[in-house]
């Protein structure tokens, strides 16, 4: 994971939009830090799949093009073989294309395209079915895909999120330690020392899918999901980690909690994290958690 580990700390906090810059310095006072990091580039093909009568999926998951050796898929399960769980390098390259296509669609919106849902290796494009047929949207998107190389992604921000690990905030930390034969301190160190990429935001408003988790921490989901995970809970599942912005059902194993609000309506930008951001977790004490929680209330 050379790409993920390369860190370039910027001195200044803030991005071009004035309101956002103001808001970021405000956030910093409340325990959140934004800086900048760098990212490598990639190229390759895409395939299209109709999702509904008013949407289609663009997949960047042509594994062969990336030169990765895959054992032959069983007959009739081609798509499935292409959609294996997050494989670091492939997912990074594919995700960069997702972000570039998203960026291009933001810079040059297509009238009649209503919404986009990015994910690890794909982008769902929802369009007005009275205006377009699938192949018309596909052909517009193919034109965009040809131009991905010229797209410069915004400078990634590095966002530091304070987390109080274990105890009532991380009810699964003990079990995660037991599964891996690690001490509490080792698990916290492994989780907090890595720098993560925001592959996309999905599931619920402001939920960032972060990758990838240290191999030593790769843990399956809970067999039975919790009916209610408290807002701010920091979870791990497979080689992903993330923060639940709201109290929702959830199957990820909870190792800590942040007092920071991940998604609010009045904040400029709404979501604390954006696709392409880099994230680090900073361990804090329960006392500090209490202080920050008051500031965020």
């Amino acid at each position: 994971m050379a790409v993920l580990n390369r860190r370039v700390h910027g001195e200044h906090i803030g991005i071009t939009a004035k309101g956002q810059a103001r808001c970021l310095s405000h956030l910093r006072e409340r325990g959140v830090r934004y800086t900048f990091a760098n990212m490598a580039t990639a190229s390759g093909g895409a395939r299209f799949e109709f999702a509904s009568d008013q949407s289609l999926l663009v997949y960047f998951d042509e594994l062969r093009e990336t030169g990765r050796a895959e054992s032959g898929p069983p007959q009739g399960e081609k798509s499935r073989a292409q959609a294996r769980p997050l494989q670091s390098q492939i997912a990074l390259q594919a995700n960069e294309k997702v972000r570039k296509l998203l960026r291009l669609l933001e810079l040059e919106p297509v009238a009649g395209v209503r919404n986009v849902h990015p994910a690890y290796c794909s982008l769902l494009v929802k369009f007005d079915g009275l205006r377009f047929r699938h192949h018309e949207v596909e052909s517009i998107l193919r034109g965009y895909l040809e131009r991905l190389e010229e797209i410069k992604l915004p400078e990634p921000r590095l966002v530091e999120i304070p987390v109080c690990y274990g105890g009532e905030f991380g009810p699964d930390l003990t079990e995660v330690c037991a599964i891996h034969g690690l001490t509490r301190a080792q698990v916290i160190e492994l989780h907090a020392s890595a720098e993560y990429l925001v592959y996309f935001l999905g599931f619920v408003p402001g939920f960032a899918y972060l990758g990838e988790l240290s191999e030593a921490l790769v843990t399956p989901r809970l067999a039975v999901p919790r009916r209610r995970v408290p807002a701010g809970s920091v979870g791990i599942a497979g080689n992903q980690t993330g923060v639940y912005p709201f109290a929702t059902p959830g199957g990820w194993r909870l190792i800590g909690r942040t007092p920071v609000a991940m998604f609010r309506d009045e904040r400029e930008g709404f979501s604390l994290l954006a696709i392409g951001d880099r994230v680090r977790f900073a361990p804090i004490s329960a006392e500090r958690f209490g202080e920050l929680e008051k500031e965020w209330a």
Partner: protein
Amino acid sequence: MGVIQVQEPGLFTTVQDLGREGFGAMGVSASGAADAISLRLGNRMVGNHEGAAGLEMTLLGGMFTFLERALLALTGSDFGATLDGKPVELWSSFEAKAGQTLRLGPTRSGARCYLCVQGGIAVELFLGSASTHILSGLGGNEGRALRKEDALKIGAERGAIHERRLTARALKELQPRKVLRVTKGPQSDWFPESARRLFYESRYRVAEESNRMGIRLEGAIVPVPSGGEMISEGVSLGAIQVPEGGKPIILFVEQQTTGGYPKIANVISADLHSLGQLRPRDEIRFERVDWETARALLREQEKLMASEDLISG
């Protein structure tokens, strides 16, 4: 400014408009009225634009007092509405005089009834929409369902108090369906032929725990494709995903924006409003159509919605 006093909120009543498209990259789904056709028609009957905010009531309606004269319309399912004790008709606008109380009861037909008021329900917009997003507690009236003693403001835009009703033809053609037409899902091919046949031949029952996020189905267990996990991807409104366990879930207006379960089919756009009228224990089945049919049905529906003689004055 007119005010609606909430005497009784009903089982689950929220402020909804046509939702907020365009924020999928933040994980925000569109939300909006579960039966958008009914909301649009109700708004037209009171002289609003189609996307004005109204109240969406679920299974059991509330009791509302109007402090000033208001032009109202009820659409969707019949909740046995009365105005100061006198029955009022669905699909037809009517006037409430200052101080009058509209009372609704349990449903006599489908799941949702809409109350539209001339001027619309005025709430602070969140990402450009008045729709309530329950899970995140954002939008609508304080991001939540109505409570007793809430006071809702009515928007300032007023037109003539002019009664309008929906034509019988429109009512018939826009009737909610129990046989839902679907197109194939992006992972249809993952399911063995036998699983797909089972899915299309079976009747499914709407489960109690269904809500605006998803409609959970009980009935024939669809064998889940074996081997490997799927990578999460963007999911469409009306997508029918089959999680482990094989009980299909139809993703609905407050859907998650991404998901990692294979999707066997997707409800066509022209039938999405029918989903909003499904009650727990209703029986449904699915009928496969091709892309051109789905498109033609949507075009027909929108042509009907756009026609001048849809509503008579």
